[in-house]
Symmetry: C2
Subunit: 91 residues, 2 copies
DNA sequence: CTTTATGCGTAAGCCAGAACTCGCTGCGGC
DNA sequence: GCCGCAGCGAGTTCTGGCTTACGCATAAAG
């Protein structure tokens, strides 16, 4: 499933125009992105939470040359499924 | 950040009432939950993708008693950040 | 609304360390 | 007041990181 399909589903379920639904979807993505980029977690109860995770520097390897590769520390976003979501997929 | 706050932010940015924003938020969560529970991936370009992941059975351990614990196979939801999201948090 | 053009996302292959998983309980958010 | 989330410990699974090419999505225009 991709963006337009989700937007369409939202439009139907929430009684919105598809344009509005698409706009809202983009706004949400933007808002969440902005929030986590500030280092704040986003928790949607019943769904899950987005957490900013510090990734320690380590030594990797270039898959093509096989040479050791220095990978600096970085940040990433981790998602932890909530109970409802876990139950839903486990079914 | 939690649900009501996100709803408020959406309401402001997308020119919606807070009630409507909250409703839309729930619908989205519900829709995504339903979709992944069917085994379909959800891809929001520029944000990331939700993937259903099969988890093999293995032998774990109860942290409190230290006794071996039999963990059966199950499914879970994995989130993979997209480029825009990674760029945003890395900043 | 459909098409076009551009720009991302996905996939694969390899390897090392890192993150996630589990049950249970307290505590805090709802 | 109640449900959901965080945290612990150890092992295993899994992702990240690079690069190329292809396919599809996105956004804008007719």
């Amino acid at each position: 499933m991709r963006k337009p399909e989700l937007a369409a589903a939202i439009a139907e379920r929430a009684d919105l125009s598809k344009d509005k639904a698409s706009q809202v979807l983009n706004v949400i993505i933007d808002e969440i992105t902005e929030t986590v980029s500030k280092g704040n977690d986003v928790t949607l109860i019943g769904f899950g939470s987005f957490t900013v995770r510090e990734r320690a520097a380590r030594t990797g390897k270039n898959p093509q040359t096989g040479k050791p590769l220095d990978i600096p520390a970085s940040k990433t976003v981790a998602f932890k499924p909530g109970k409802a979501l876990k139950d839903a997929v486990s079914k």
